[in-house]
């Protein structure tokens, strides 16, 4: 028995093609990913009674548009979650809660992103005056999404723990070791620590190879009750526990804990609710929108102490293929491409089912998925056992 009131299983995962070029229709991308997930589960659109998606704005079709497209007869719960969520995993977390509570039986979540929506480089025409929280940020050039914040976090962590950039580089190098084994990934060439250290600054000390890679693509996940899952065509992947976290003083810039934010309380609650501990984890899928996010999650999740992730990772073999804790086995957003957390969940499911071909982690039975960062964290522990 898991800690949820109704046991919930992940029964379907789907992807569109992931691409670096062109401007494919986001409705088509979403439809392909959702159709794949339904087919993977052996379900039809008419089985879906809840939809949650994560979006920045108009770059992806909303929950109701997708319900119409797939022929859902009626939605019992739905929402388009705006960016204040544990990234795209927020959709799946909401889906699990909807099923666990009994409000819904079979729920779809997805994230669709396009390069046009995901590209933050270059000069944007900005407003001449800024109000709200932005009045304390934009006049100082703290602009460009969260790039400057990530640079501030990266430098502070290095200063606080006496670490160097190599620690971050190990995450970037690891992503390519895994993506070289993943035909779906958009960046598959291996890189070295020197490549990382030579990559250009985005906002010093944040480098290009610290940042994930914007793509066109969509990713979808279907959850239902564990009971129903037993009658479907895939090995059910059970949600053992889940948690959100924000930390206190919730904010990207002015939070009490600028370095870890909500990751620490999220991880504490996750393990408190789980039947497992960090030592039971066979494979970890941890958000890597920026390399610092991954390091900080590794520490918050308790795989090592605070400030110790660099030493813990060492030369990288521990988290690479054949290592003791394979990390981001699809290449993550750094290399497979940015799908805002949903792809970490799907990869964990595929690993637990044993469907990852060349990159399969042998005997993977328990996985952790952590998504989002700082004031917007979420995580799940998944297993094939119940």
């Amino acid at each position: 028995m898991s800690s949820l009131s109704r046991d919930v299983a992940i029964v379907g995962v789907g992807y569109s093609d992931l691409s670096r070029e062109g401007a494919p229709d986001s409705r088509k991308l979403t439809f392909v990913a959702v159709s794949e997930a339904l087919a993977d589960a052996g379900l039809a659109g008419s089985d879906i009674d809840g939809i949650f998606e994560y979006k920045f704005g108009p770059e992806s079709p909303g929950a109701q548009e997708v319900a119409r497209l797939i022929g859902s007869p009626n939605l019992l719960a739905f929402a388009d979650l705006m960016p204040n969520n544990p990234s795209g995993l927020g959709g799946s977390l909401a889906a699990v809660m909807a099923v666990a509570s009994g409000v819904c039986d079979t729920v779809l979540s997805y994230r669709c992103l396009t390069r046009a929506a995901g590209y933050t480089g270059g000069v944007a025409a900005g407003p001449d005056t800024v109000g709200g929280t932005w009045q304390y940020l934009d006049p100082y050039g703290c602009v460009g999404g969260i790039l400057v914040n990530m640079a501030l976090v990266k430098r502070r962590w290095m200063a606080e723990y006496g670490r160097t950039e190599e620690d971050f580089g190990r995450i970037a190098v690891n992503a390519r070791r895994w993506s070289s084994l993943n035909p779906r990934a958009v960046l598959r060439d291996l890189i070295t620590i020197d490549d990382y250290l030579e990559s250009r600054m985005i906002a010093d000390p944040l480098r290009l190879l610290d940042c994930d890679y914007p793509i066109n693509g969509a990713c979808a996940t279907i959850v239902t009750t564990a009971e129903r899952a037993r009658d479907l065509q895939q090995v059910p992947v059970i949600v053992d526990s889940m948690a959100y976290g924000t930390g206190r003083g919730v904010d990207w810039t002015f939070a009490d804990d600028v370095l870890y934010g909500g990751a620490v309380p999220c991880a504490e609650k996750l393990w408190e609710r789980s039947s497992y501990t960090p030592t039971d984890i066979d494979v970890a899928q941890v958000y890597d929108g920026f390399t610092n996010v991954t390091l900080h999650w590794i520490e918050a999740l308790g795989f090592c102490g605070f400030g110790e992730s660099g030493d813990w990772i060492g030369d990288g073999s521990r988290i690479g293929p054949g290592g003791e804790l394979p990390l981001n086995t699809a290449g993550g957003q750094l290399a497979e491409g940015r799908l805002h957390g949903v792809s970490f969940l799907n990869e964990a499911v595929l690993q637990l089912r044993g469907q990852c071909d060349e990159r399969q982690v042998p005997d993977a039975e328990v996985a952790v998925v952590a998504s989002g960062l700082y004031p917007q964290c979420g995580a799940m522990v998944l297993t094939t056992e119940l």
């Binding site: 100082y140 460009g144 200063a159 010093d204 944040l206």
Partner: protein
């Protein structure tokens, strides 16, 4: 603390838009005073200003002048413009400064009158006030830096 930096009248960087909550802060800057809110109930200070104390939820918040001294919590050097107003401003340094009055009381600012290679996390800073098209913004510089 009484130094005013002058920038050109056509400085295109964005300006803050004071509102009912923040007016005292920007008015203080105009008078070369660095202001934060102090909670009358729990005595904690907060920045940015808000409608209630985020520690105890009291709405009795008093504008309070602080010393203008702080330490460099972290910084980033931005050498490309992510906003049209900063095309001529690059490279510039964005910093998170912790004020000496209270642990965790931090502001976003720029570091002025210093080259990036002179900066160290933890170094002592002083506020300096920068005039920008009819507004005045608090900025920080290393203690002892020349204008």
């Amino acid at each position: 603390m009484t130094t005013t930096r002058e920038t050109t009248t056509i400085d295109p960087r964005p300006l803050p838009e004071p509102d009912a909550v923040s007016a005292f802060f920007w008015e203080g800057a105009r008078q070369q005073r660095l202001m934060v809110q102090r909670c009358e109930a729990c005595r904690s200070m907060q920045y940015p200003p808000d409608v209630a104390c985020i520690r105890c939820q009291s709405t009795q918040l008093e504008p309070t002048q602080v010393s203008g001294r702080g330490t460099l919590y972290s910084y980033a050097v931005v050498d490309r413009a992510y906003h049209a107003g900063f095309v001529d401003a690059v490279p510039y340094t964005v910093a998170l400064v912790e004020l000496v009055e209270q642990s965790g009381l931090r502001m976003i600012t720029n570091i002025v009158d210093a080259e990036p290679e002179q900066l160290r996390v933890g170094m002592d800073l002083d506020v300096v006030f920068e005039r920008r098209r009819g507004m005045v913004l608090p900025q920080f510089r290393p203690v002892g830096a020349a204008t």
